[in-house]
Amino acid sequence: MRPCNSLKLEFLKNWIMGLQRWSFSKKEMGILERKKAIKLSADIAMASARNGTTRWSRALIANAYSKHDKHLVSKGASTEYSRRIRSKKILKRSCRRIRRRSKGLVRERTRILKNLIPGGELMNEGSLIEESLDYIVSLRAQVDVMRSLVSASEVDR
């Protein structure tokens, strides 16, 4: 399933906007920092291209909003997302005992998958699979765009 063009376009638009915003704020940074900023803005761009329709995107935006400097994510929706995530966490914590021992191969792998997908710990198994489907498609689109950008900018250097 190739990711459709509209998703890629949306992602690129958001990404460029985010990069521009970031480049206005910080002028000099080392390469690692720059890489982190690029990756972060790409992730946020991809998540916002989803427009809050999927849980992983909301979780990603909420995490980015809380952890990193907030200038990259500057919409009011991010606070709403973090609110939703927080309430979900509270609910989960209150009504389930966190069992870390994972018996069986499937359980173990489900746990790993939950750690991979942003916001995965809060989902039950059915929605986990659905979200991972969507996440894989979005990741593919992101990789495609980034790769083409890289190839366009690095050929013939």
């Binding site: 489900t110 059915g126 980034m146 900018s153 050929v155």
Partner: protein, 361 residues
């Protein structure tokens, strides 16, 4: 402010009375159906049906007189409700007991109800009405009188689903509490999820629900298997999950590497975008270039007010085509020039772009 307070004050009252009205209305519909059926001859198992009707009838008569009849005529009659009601049901004829039994069937799946299912009747059609009826039942279990016909609704649904199931099942009885439950879960998508018990499988409500869940999960896993390359042939959840995890991890790693590479193309990227965005406001859609309307995306990287005279810009549309992997670009801004241009591979036109980048550095 007083108005607001007054409105707020009357708000809850209004909703309470609205709720009562709704409940009464729905009970009315139901009783209307019962009455209609009472007049029409019952097809099979008339004895149990009329036996059941004995109780609701007097209460139905009671309820009829209370609200106005206009609602009665206006309300669309959910006929299939009562058709299903014809099914053999052997409830104890006491309102409290009926209510308790109904609730019991809804929430736990009683054995008694199963054994009473004997006859088959024509398939019911409108589940929507009963699905909507079920919700008031669950929210107002306290009211006995008005809810009594309502409370029978879940049992009606149980009947219906069980009957439908039984038509497919060879010989096993089943509970349909899961169907009722699924209806409330998936009410926005489907009115009912028909759970069919397979031959020789466990039929209590929990395992039915579990099986429905499993089927949903398996369907999604199949989609995932198609998505992830190389997963189609693997059988077994653990290995498929393995592949999925590997795929996600590899994609995430690729994003990291690519962002590192992009950071290494430095400081071209930010510079590019800076200059791009200063010029963005005016000239994205204008044909600054002779007879050219740029596609919206790559102009953000390529377009610059100062570079209008840069001749290879004509080729950048080609670049964009190739950059997108020669997929069809879905925006409408592509000019005829794009089609006229003969672009071949990214290797050919990408150097133009990099040249341009170099110029801007």
């Amino acid at each position: 402010m007083e108005l607001n307070a007054g409105a707020a004050g009357t708000g809850p009252h209004k909703t309470a009375s609205e709720r009562d009205e709704v409940a009464a209305l729905e009970s009315l519909q139901f009783t209307d159906e019962i009455r209609r059926l009472m007049s029409a001859p019952a097809t099979d198992n008339a004895s149990s049906f009329t036996a059941l009707l004995e109780l609701p009838a007097p209460q139905a008569v009671q309820l009829i007189h209370s609200p106005d009849s206009a609602k009665l005529t206006a309300a669309p009659a959910p006929a299939p409700n009562v058709d299903d009601f014809k099914g053999s049901f052997h409830y104890p004829f006491n309102s409290g007991l009926i209510e308790r039994a109904a609730r019991f069937s809804v929430f736990t799946g009683d054995g008694n109800i199963n054994e009473d299912n004997k006859s088959n009747s024509p398939e019911p059609t409108s589940y929507n009405s009963s699905a909507s009826l079920q919700k008031p039942v669950k929210s107002e279990p306290a009211e006995t009188e008005s809810s009594q016909p309502l409370v029978s609704d879940p049992t009606v649904e149980n009947r219906r689903n069980k009957r439908k199931d039984r038509e497919k099942v060879k010989g096993s009885t089943k509970k349909s509490k899961t169907a009722a439950k699924e209806s409330s879960d998936d009410a926005e998508k489907l009115p009912y999820v028909h759970v069919r018990a397979r031959r020789g499988q466990a039929t209590d409500s929990h395992s039915l629900a579990e099986r429905a869940r499993r089927e949903k999960i398996n369907a999604r896993m199949k989609l995932l298997q198609e998505l992830v390359p190389g997963c189609g042939k693997i059988s077994g959840m653990a290995l498929v999950l393995d592949e999925i995890i590997n795929h996600v991890q590899s994609l995430q790693r690729q994003v990291e590497f690519l962002s590192m590479r992009l950071a290494a193309v430095n400081p071209g990227i930010d510079f590019n975008l800076d200059s791009v965005f200063t010029a963005e406001n005016g000239s994205l859609m204008d044909s600054n270039f002779p007879g050219m309307v740029m596609p919206m995306m790559w102009p953000e990287v390529q377009l610059n007010g100062n570079r209008q005279q840069y001749p290879p810009q004509l080729h950048f549309n080609a670049l964009q085509q190739s950059v997108w992997g020669k997929e069809e670009v879905c925006n409408n801004y592509i000019t005829p020039e794009n089609s006229l241009l003969s672009y071949d591979s990214s290797g050919n036109s990408a150097p133009l772009h990099s040249n341009r980048l170099k110029m801007e550095l």
